[in-house]
Symmetry: D2
């Protein structure tokens, strides 16, 4: 069935039809398309376009279609070029020609935009659920590992001692920001284009606010030309998903590093690792690698929609059909990645002994040494230089800072006294960093608590 | 001057220093860096690290530095690898070694993140100002051209008649959405990292909330490891700028089409067009073309920051130095584009006669013809088919719909009556689309008014 | 069936297996995987790892598998995580445990890289075939429309008269360049990784050159660590495909403009256009719009693979599994787009009268007017200025250049004489541009002939 | 000075002129622009447009301009909107109005395309020089470190022992491929557009082949419409540069990992590392991090040019001005990155003891254990399983494979004999991988020699 054709003398070419058809992917909108049509039919009745009887017949027909979709018994036919065509075709089969009336006053332009927004809103809720689950897994881990000290890295070099829980909380904070982006994307999506017709507005007298209420939209679009060609919400969603993937890729990188024989900080659960077809000893962090790799495809989809929209004149152009596949793929990818990374985090085991071993070396409290001197009244730049010279001394002697005797400190500055030893203790170092956001155990515990509270407050749907 | 070195035996290679230096671009942060340091110095005094006297000296020194920056008399020296080094170097020249104390408890990691956020917040305000000016120009145009009817396009084909003002308002709605994105980007940026030190938190006892207040931040970062490596706000800003450019590119495309001899809808002001070095008759819409072209570079910068951040382990890595140039360039590009497109819109003249000529042909009210039959009780699909057949009839006869006599309509359906003529009138067609967002003149006027009201309500800074 | 597991105590998690499995898309490599294994088995026999009898059994088994794949009767089982696993599983079902020997000395790392290269080489041949077909359609059109003059545009403004065939040939030249890129991508792909093992090289004594010959490769990889992690050829192919799409998007844009009521230069065949579900008169250039839109997804896939590869340490990482879907999708997309655009070009009709009408106006020979004055001895800048002033004069009077009498030219320069009229003739203008690449009909004909000759010379497979 | 204006009544707006001017970046083309004009002037003389005397005067004038450019004494004036305008303006100042004749028959459209191609060809030569230098540094290192065995990684897990030189050669092979891409990009660029005029071809009778010869081009463009709007060569160059950066980012990642305290494989030279402003002990691999980060901007520029070109109708559009800045920046970035990474590689020191320590553990010869069993007649899948079980045994007992006594092997398979010990030796493992591309020392040495030979053969300019 074609939804058009009176003006055409020749039939559409078969291969062109296949090329331009969207049914292969927009079938995912089926449920939303039926709901959308149900609500529209009510509006048509209210406007007097169809009778109460027709409303009942069509509504019953649509329930039947919905049931078929739900139970996977809906059969697509050759010629169903898109989901709207398929639903109308099936409806007419069920209720007869009156089914065709559902198209009155609507265009596929406003219809597909409405369906896609409903779909996106639903999926953003699922994404948010996945983000919450990951936060929860990270919080659990941060609580369980409270007290474990590791070398914090900058430039992948040992920098200063930090709590492992503090580092895990860094990821929690990234994901919490992502939740805000998801919320914003949702708000931008939550606006009903239906009633915009092809571009000029529908010719039917309908109450768009009421229609929106029925479909679960907060707002209605305020310019019909814009409404049919606006895919900003796809961009917003894909950007949000890209940022989530960037964050997951960073977490994945961390896990991959930790699993290496060189870092040796983490043992993955057997159920969340894979082996090698060739090398019998291998246990690979494939989940994390796949997550890191999949960042590329989501970013690619964002680039894709921006490229599609660039330079398009008003209003609807068929280029916009390219809004769907990248979005569908990105959503599915992110949902999958959230799940596997959450399971990976939840099931991995940290090696506390290795952490202790790593934090013991590498002059990790050299900054504290400089701070010590500042406390004694030296300007920081000079204190920094002295501490650096002591590191060179240690490197030459093959010693660690904590191995030095007071008499070895003295030549570098007369200000060193016996208390320097305590000052270089890693736990003391941590505790001195007790401002908001610092690695002091009390602060980190507060931060975990605050994040958990926020999670509970915001765990309702978007 | 180096801010480090005690630990190094050999000097840094000169060409490497040039390669890694950021002063060539981060000098743009100078003002914010000085402000940041002023506030930090107060915190140092409050924490007892420096005396009241030192505070006064350093503050005076910083005022002197600020004055030099403002008056472009600040001289950069070889060895000033970044703006922080340059400011500290100059301060020490002015106030002596005590100037070095400003670095106590800070790292360039938290400092640069703070500077860049302050800069971005300031620039987002400017972007918003530019968006408001463009909305205003579009609103003025929409008001002035109220009543002009043009063919609305879908697929770049004549679709239905719409008000030119309605179409201009489509762009207003895009830009209004962009203002929301700018606001969201601002909120994400408005969070102070200062006090996070290199990654573990500062070792100094400072009140971060007070410090934030002094610098104009609403919030402080809650995890120091995250704070020094978080560049989400750069991504948020670049995405927002990319969407603005996508919208401007669409407006630009429209202008370019209108200026063509084929559309002939618009005459550009001489002051906002350019000529050809070869072809004497040319008057080119270069402003619009450049705006359309510059979309590429802003999208490229978004791609760039996402690529930079992908897979980075915690915490700060030098890769993050790549956060600035793309951002600076994108901001400058968008500000420039907003200005020229605003001027272009403001100064261009529409050819009302050409509009009338274009809207007269092309079966632009064929949808109304179908709607007419629906009004007579035919199902839309059938009505659509009949209207299509009448179009074919017209094409064969070389006629327009409005030229047809009733007896020519009759063979297609007995339901046609005399009133079909009025129904095909473009103004009547417009008026029937009088729902929210429709092209009915009353609705469009309301929409202009509402947009102007919103503009006035939200014209304060972000 | 798992190809690994001895080292694992727990079974892999089901949802993780689904997430990490590639069988859903790498089944496309089935045929190549079987061929690859056939050739490998011969090498194993040559190395004495398997007996002649085993070789025969396994080879027969592989033929059976190949037949099942060809006839779509190959059944995938749950647990077939990738195509290599599936083929080995089925082979073992057919020939018993000896089938497992095919894995000796191989890793999925070198195997998948080999399969993917074979697949890509095959597909690049198909792409080249599609490019040739499009060139042919353009050449046919250029020949048929020889002599039709249109306004050439710069800045979408009428610039100078050109032959329509000349403009069509511009696209031919783009596509000819793409053929060179396809050839280069092919050459980069044509290099066999097999024998590289997991990363260190196979432990089996095989003759890699002979193996390559059997599989149709020209060269073998020269570093096993590089070989298993090199996906440059995917980048090369995706870049090539992106450039093809950029070119097709430009051709599509041209078609879309030509089809508009404003340009009115082209009528699409009914079979290669679509209608509207709402507006009965619509005939939309959807094919061209979809092609233009699909540029985004191919560019997105290029960005994706670059993002995936960025910063990966050696050697194989699971991220590389993300090399396939984008590549497969891009190839399929480009093949489809080449077909529909070729058919669109072939079946569209140009309106010669409209061309004549458009070329008659717009001061399109103003450059010739300046050239005329240069011929009389004036410096070009002054000649350009005079011609510009005459254009202004015409605009004010509502005249075209060719309408001016000699006495109207005279006030602008005494050098004007009667011959100025001929000089402004569009055909004369064309003929004066008779250098290589110019729009002179003789030159354009030569260029068509040369392109057709090149096509015939290079029509063999890559 | 404007190169146009007769047709305009109002002057161009000042801010618009600034916005559209390209002189801020296209001044880099100055030298090429002058050369281009010199050659063009000779053609004009040959065509009789200018006299021999004028030729001499103009040529002398151009030499003077060239000298000013070379000595940085060329002064740009307000109103020099681009380099072509600036050069013509200065020439006219020097030689008088006759200087204006250089513009005869040319357009900035063909001129800028010619300049940019000349520039790109020159820069690609420099890039190739940088690639050669990096290959040389890697080859030197591979030779010096010959014999050092390290754990080869897949999935960042210890996989099999490999020669460090073998791994360094993996990067050599990547860069060798890049040299081919550079060569191909050069060939695509090496085609002269000059003589194409604005789009239709020049009206002057010139010999384009001779002109090309003078400018150092191999070929001339064969379609003038295509020639002025073709920026494929910018895309080709940016893609090539992106792939180079992807490879450098992988090398950088390797260096960063090696420098970490956990890997501890590499010590950077003090001259090629940086310190921290806060942490006195830090020695950071900033060079490698910056290189990795700068990948983003080059990929961003590729994205940018593809976005710019997408959907542009023929022929020249001002959007194309956006071809330069991204290209210039990418070239400069890659040249800088090649230099610093080459110096980093050349000056870094490997810790041979740490290599030995790492390769001793981690079951790195488990694959050899399986191969051993295959040699005894077991099918590989079973051998793989047995080896995996032995690994589990070792993990449970806290042993390495080489620590196991024969009686501990026996329970897993009766086929184990005394020779299993030798088989597990890492050097023996290496030597067994002696096919082309394998990690066997003899093969690796051959490969180093072959690469050095190729380097010498291909060290001439492109």
């Amino acid at each position: 069935m074609n939804l058009w054709g009176g003006r055409f003398k020749d039939k559409i070419n078969r291969s062109f039809l296949d090329f331009s058809a969207s049914i292969e992917f927009d079938y995912k909108l089926a449920e939303h398309d039926v709901n959308c049509t149900k609500a529209w039919t009510i509006s048509l009745a209210a406007a007097g376009i169809i009778s109460e009887l027709e409303l009942e017949e069509i509504t019953n027909g649509l329930y039947a279609v919905a049931e078929e979709i739900k139970t996977n018994s809906f059969e697509f036919m050759p010629g169903d070029e898109d989901i709207h065509t398929a639903v109308e075709r099936r409806l007419v089969e069920i209720v007869g020609p009156a089914g065709g009336k559902i198209r009155t006053g609507r265009s596929r332009n406003d219809q597909v935009a409405t369906d896609l927004r409903l779909f996106t809103m639903e999926q953003l809720n699922d994404i948010d659920y996945g983000l919450r689950a990951l936060i929860e897994a990270l919080l659990d881990k941060a609580e369980n590992l409270m007290g474990v000290i590791i070398p914090g890295h900058t430039h992948l070099q040992h920098a200063q001692p930090v709590l492992l829980s503090h580092l895990l909380m860094a990821f929690v904070h990234m994901i919490m920001r992502d939740r805000k982006r998801v919320k914003n994307a949702y708000i931008h999506t939550d606006c009903m284009p239906l009633g915009s017709g092809a571009l000029a507005g529908t010719g039917i007298e309908i109450d768009r606010m009421q229609l929106a209420g029925q479909l679960g939209f907060e707002r209605v679009s305020e310019n019909s030309i814009d409404a049919v060609s606006d895919r900003d919400f796809v961009g917003d969603t894909l950007y949000t998903l890209s940022m989530i993937m960037v964050h997951l890729s960073r977490l994945a990188e961390q896990v991959i590093l930790w699993c290496s024989q060189e870092f040796a900080m983490v043992r993955l659960a057997d159920a969340w690792a894979t082996g090698s077809s060739l090398m019998p000893q291998k246990k690979n962090p494939d989940a994390a690698e796949l997550v890191r790799g999949k960042t590329g495809r989501v970013v690619g989809s964002l680039m894709s929609i921006l490229t599609v929209m660039k330079g398009l004149p008003l209003s609807y152009n068929r280029d916009l059909q390219e809004d769907k596949e990248g979005l569908f793929d990105a959503i599915e990818t992110v949902l999958g990645c959230l799940h596997v990374i959450e399971r990976t985090v939840d099931t991995m085991e940290f090696d506390r002994e290795r952490a202790a071993q790593l934090v013991a070396g590498g002059f990790i409290t050299a900054t504290d040494l400089a701070d010590y001197l500042v406390g004694k009244g030296i300007e920081f730049p000079q204190a920094h230089r002295i501490a650096g010279e002591i590191v060179v001394y240690c490197l030459d002697k093959g010693k660690e800072l904590k191995d030095l005797a007071l008499r070895e400190f003295k030549p570098f500055s007369e200000l060193f006294e016996e208390d320097v030893g305590q000052w270089l203790d890693v736990e003391a170092s941590l505790c001195r960093r007790n401002m908001i956001g610092g690695t002091d155990p009390v602060e980190v515990s507060k931060s975990i608590k605050a994040a958990r509270d926020a999670l509970e407050r915001k765990s309702e749907s978007l």
